[in-house]
Amino acid sequence: MRKELGIFALLVVLCIVVAILNPRFLAPANLQNMARLIGMYGIFSIGIGMVIITGGIDLSVGSVFALLGVILSIMLTQWALPGALAVLAVVAIASGLGLLHGLLVTRVRIQPFIVTLCGLLFYRGLARFIAGDETKGFGSAGGFEKLQNLATGSLFHVPMPFVLMIVIGAVMWVVLHRSVYGRYLFAVGRNEEAARYSGINSRRIIASAYVLSGLMAGIAGVVLAFYTNSISPSSHGSFYELYGIAAAVLGGCSLRGGEGSIIGIVIGAALLQVLQNLVNLLGIPSSLNFAVMGAVILIGVIADQVFERRAAKA
């Protein structure tokens, strides 16, 4: 809990500072847009967080977005599939890819970094090949405004992706922090061997985390595709996996596994978006975007270490 409070305080302070420096930060349009992005990033960050809690990592998410975007566009514009079916199919594909990663990690015993790095390369290449390296969109297809509502619509002025994230976050909070499955995830992440000696099917638990990550990537991928409304297969979603990892780490997940919380991950995702916003609003050259993010993550992690050591001494 202490960790989440720390990063939450950082988020609040940052918001206040930006709001003071540029009151436009609090403009409804800005807040809404930011909430939309937080929602989208938050969803897949939760998925990546699950994998990180098992001691693994998922680098494939960004490329999965590109692949899903391309496939979604083809399904809707060329095959004219019903919207709901296409969305379901895409989410199922993403979960299937997660399952594949999980099986490669647990059955073939390849390191998660390698498995998902290969995924990162492979799906990007596949997306570009399928799309013929051309930008895909949904322009010509009609009748899926309802679907697009998922990305661009609002519910009582709250952007849909944010609502989605809250719902998914609430469900995942119960799953991770209150359910038997969640306890197993932490146990396996801490010490797979001891978990196995306690009768836990650790391979299945680990593989399932990758499926969850795939599922979240599927949902976020659909939202992202509708949000950008055009998918350029060589750049769509690139680096997104790193945002997810950064959000999870900022939110208290340890890359060694066995540590982390849903609330922390969500706050981590929010913090990253506020930082982006800060760069835009304060007139910092956008070329410094990544540098600012890198510096803040580093400072956050160092501060956490310092507090941890203080607490250990006390």
Binding site: N191, A194, Y197, S198
Partner: protein, 502 residues
């Protein structure tokens, strides 16, 4: 009177909330082996850490050859000729023997390039290896050495630093019987070379064999000193606990006769050509003796399903079992208390409560959600029953002593319904008080009808606690002895596979 090599006098050390040492005195003469005994928490480690420069004492003096010294750091301790052989070895298995011995102070040549003089470290290492009686080439990769051999490398390293006083902390806790005998021999040899040794061990038989003097600590104070002639098992134990432990081991009352578990031609992956067959009777403790590497732990792991069986059958209460994972074993009431309690027995970072309920968490859950009250209530019950000393069941398992950790592992299984309990080195690194409790518990479980297998490298434990003893050698069971025929010699002969009465 001669001046002792080391004299620690009036040493006090306080930690927040505890007085770890209260005016403790310890003297070690030149070429003397002093055993330091005491239960866990008696202050042995703290005293040795002060000597090794890890902790600073709050009060008291340390003199070496009559000279007052203050030891502020580990390197100062080394500079004074004090070598520390830790229980967990600090060796690098990606380096070779000589590189380990000279790590951090390699002789150099080719001045500006700072190249390692490999010739020199090898020849110097070989001299040291002869002193500790280790006959391997100095360039052997460390990972090819056994644990016992690695320990010798550590000792060689201490000697290379001109150690005059070696602190050996539980050096035999993971050695086999023959390796232990070998270590004792080397320790004696070092004494004749004039090296003094402070020897910490829970195995009182070793202390009897080895020590010139035994200093016993209890609750951070000197409880007494026994000279060579006075050292015996009972005297040490009564000083350690301050009372006579009459029922240390709990021998069987009546041997059960019905078979509860039958193992037929079980073959492990380690020794696929050696089928093992035996039965465990209802209510008996079947001891498993043998050298480390005899395949005892592999047998246990195979029966528990964490290792795949190559072939064979396990029959429990006349029901053949199909065990292909720990889940299966647990479902059938077959549980393992593993040797490596810190890595496989427990998840140290989880709380006591979470560890205890892990195998059957669904029992405390409704619709997949854990009912924390029920879970904690159960954990508290189990901890009370097993006398686990704890601040609360929310305490992380890592913060418990070895004995209490072992009790948590047991609590985990006893909250289920054990039919066969396999203990692998149940009391390794556990203090005498907790040991006695674990023996009592084992016996009362046996009396309740649970079949118990107890793998142990501690001969006293095997002899004191088993109804029968199965002895293994290189994967095969070379004999099963009834309690009446169990002697150390008979077991050792089978363990090294000398045929009985040739």
């Amino acid at each position: 009177m001669t001046i002792p090599l080391l004299r620690m006098a009036g040493i006090c050390k306080r930690f927040p909330g505890v007085v770890a040492l209260d005016h403790v005195t310890l003297e070690v003469g030149g070429g003397e082996i002093v055993a330091l005994a005491g239960e866990n928490g008696a202050g042995k480690s703290t005293l040795m850490k002060i000597l090794g420069g890890v902790y600073q004492p709050d009060a008291g003096s340390i003199t070496i050859e009559g000279r007052d010294v203050a030891i502020h750091s580990v390197s100062e301790a080394i500079g004074l000729g004090i070598g520390f052989i830790h229980q967990e070895l600090n060796v690098f298995d990606n380096l070779d023997v000589s590189e380990n011995v000279f790590l951090g102070r390699e002789p150099l040549w080719g001045a500006p390039l700072r190249l390692v003089d490999r010739q020199k470290i090898r020849s110097q290492t070989e001299v040291l290896l002869r002193r500790v009686g280790l006959s391997v080439p100095a360039d052997t990769p460390l990972r090819k050495l056994s644990l016992a051999q690695r320990q010798m490398v550590e000792i060689a390293k201490a000697l290379s630093l001109n150690a005059r006083l070696l602190i050996m902390d539980e050096p035999t806790s993971s050695l086999t019987l023959t390796e232990t005998a070998r270590l004792i021999e080397v320790t004696r040899e070092l004494r004749t070379q004039g090296v003094s040794i402070i020897y910490i061990s829970h195995r009182l038989a070793e202390i009897e064999q080895l020590a010139d003097r035994t200093v016993v600590l209890r609750d951070g104070r000197n409880a007494g000193t026994l000279s060579r002639g006075e050292i015996n098992h009972d005297a040490i134990v009564s000083l350690m606990v301050g009372r006579d432990l009459q029922h240390f081991y709990v021998p069987p009352e009546t041997a059960g006769q019905t078979d509860r578990v039958q193992v037929r031609n079980l073959r492990t992956r380690r020794y696929p050509a050696q089928p093992a067959s035996f039965t465990v009777r209802k209510g008996e403790i079947l001891g498993f003796a043998g050298l480390v590497g005899a395949g005892r732990s592999e047998l246990a792991q195979t029966m528990f399903g964490v290792d795949r069986a190559v072939g064979g059958d396990i029959v429990l209460d006349n029901q053949p079992l199909k065990i292909s994972s720990a889940r299966d074993a647990i479902k059938h009431g077959v549980y393992l208390v593993p040797e490596d309690r810190r890595n496989t027995g427990l998840i140290l970072e989880l709380s006591i409560c979470e560890n205890i309920t892990l195998p059957d968490l669904s029992r405390y859950a409704r619709a997949g959600l854990v009912a924390r009250d029920a879970e904690q209530k159960r954990a508290n019950e189990m901890c009370d029953k097993l006398n686990v000393k704890r601040p609360s069941v929310g305490t992380r398992a890592a913060n418990l002593s070895g004995g209490n950790q072992q009790k948590v592992v047991l609590a985990k299984w006893l909250s289920l319904n054990p039919k066969l309990l396999i203990f692998d080195e149940p009391t390794r690194g556990i203090d005498v008080g907790a040991k006695a409790e674990i023996y009592q518990l084992m016996r009362s479980l046996a009396n309740e009808g649970v079949a118990i297998m107890m793998i142990s490298s501690d001969m006293e434990e095997i002899l004191g606690e088993s109804d029968r003893v199965a002895v293994m050698h290189e994967g095969a069971i070379t004999g099963i002895l009834e309690r009446a025929h169990c002697t150390e010699e008979a077991i050792m002969r089978l363990a090294v596979a000398i045929p009985r009465a040739a």
